[in-house]
């Protein structure tokens, strides 16, 4: 009887251990697979186009600002706007915002996320909130009054877009890529989030470019 119970206990103990062995192996392999999937780079052919577009806009902003500087306008409103645009342009061309775009056409999910979060922390928080948001205040500068509704709605949509993209990218964290479909869906989302983020960069550059052009127009009108 004692021997029987002993054998029985051994069988139970080893069955339980076998169960744990199975669970541990499953999680070991799953984690390896997930970490591989999560760090796999994505190929985005569109990057060259987006990067060139953004760089062209920044160089146009530079030209406009140089032209304004040469006009030597004495109007305070325009001078304030000029200094704000100068600081904004520095932020827009900062290392954090563009370094990831410059690399090549292969992006890790974390690169895309950092590109989006630096748009939030640099462009929206510094360039927009600190320098340009006064344009949409209750008492906007008279020279740029007509731009207030356009800028306000554009920035609002850009902010929403970027928040949506960043939230969606975070999908890759907690879920194991159990099937090929799940994996490709997450990667497709990443690609569309990438284009949302680069579009946001370009849309914001458009706003700054338009403001710099209007700055020269107003300065020209005053000089005439």
């Amino acid at each position: 009887m004692k021997k029987f119970i002993r054998e029985y206990l051994r069988v139970i103990a080893y069955t339980a251990t076998g169960l744990v062995f199975g669970i541990a192996s499953f999680y070991l392999l799953m984690n390896y697979y997930h970490s591989e999937e999560v760090s796999k780079p994505l190929y985005i052919s569109q990057n060259d186009v987006d990067y060139t577009e953004y760089k062209t806009k920044i160089s146009k902003i530079d030209e406009n600002l140089k032209r304004f500087d040469s006009m030597k306008s004495k109007n305070d409103e325009l001078k304030t706007m000029y200094s704000k645009l100068i600081s904004c342009r520095t932020v827009m061309d900062g290392d954090k915002t563009l370094s990831k775009l410059k690399v090549d056409n292969y992006f890790k999910p974390v690169d895309i996320y950092q590109l989006g979060s630096s748009f939030q922390s640099e462009v929206l928080n510094i360039c927009w909130a600190m320098h340009l948001s006064y344009l949409t205040s209750d008492t906007p500068p008279v020279s740029f009054k007509e731009y207030a509704p356009y800028i306000s709605s554009s920035v609002k949509s850009i902010t929403n877009q970027i928040n949506f993209a960043l939230d969606e990218i975070q999908n890759n964290s907690s879920y194991f890529y159990t099937t090929n479909i799940t994996s490709s869906t997450i990667r497709n989302y990443l690609k569309s989030d990438y284009s949302i983020i680069t579009d946001s960069y370009n849309e914001f550059a458009d706003i700054v470019l338009e403001l710099s052009e209007s700055l020269n127009e107003k300065a020209g009108e005053i000089n005439d």
Binding site: F21, V110, S174
Partner: protein
């Protein structure tokens, strides 16, 4: 060879267990902090439920070591599985603390991926509880071992040594 490997696994698992418990407590402290939960207040039971399987296994390890249960010490399969469980928990902790490719790591500003780690708590508990259970079974099995059999085995070994 198997004996040496078995001893190595036994020592490694005993060494890793308290370290992993400390790492888990470290992550849980910040997890509670983020959710505004007090560890030594209302949520103590919740905290204890995560730590309890570790404590149970540590107690069993101490019992195994001091009472010298050979059924547990000599079981290669049990020691190998225990080591694997420790390895898996170490990977859970490592990924929660270091894997920056999982993007929720960046979200809360604590440099810990809480969502991932809280997903792993349930399997962690299951593995540790079941390991404790099989450890207890092996201990009981050891107690039921025939003393005559042991005596015979010891005598056999002695005779072999004498012949050599």
């Amino acid at each position: 060879m198997t004996k040496i490997l078995n001893k190595m696994l036994y020592i490694l698992k005993n060494f890793m267990l308290p370290l992993l418990m400390i790492t888990t407590i470290y992550i849980i402290i910040f997890m509670f902090q983020r959710l505004d939960k007090e560890i030594f207040g209302k949520n103590f039971l919740e905290f204890l439920s995560v730590i309890a399987p570790f404590l149970l296994l540590i107690i069993l390890c101490i019992v195994n070591t001091f009472l010298n249960h050979e059924t547990v010490k000599n079981s290669f399969f049990y020691n190998f599985t225990s080591f694997m469980v420790m390895l898996v928990i170490a990977i859970f902790c490592y990924r929660a603390l270091m894997d920056k490719n999982m993007l929720l790591w960046h979200k809360y500003g604590y440099k810990i991926n809480f969502n991932y780690f809280s997903d792993q708590i349930a399997p962690m508990k299951v593995m540790l509880y079941v390991l404790s259970f099989s450890n207890i079974m092996l201990i009981i099995e050891g107690y039921l071992k025939d003393k005559k059999e042991d005596f015979k085995k010891v005598n056999k070994k002695k005779n072999q040594n004498f012949v050599e």
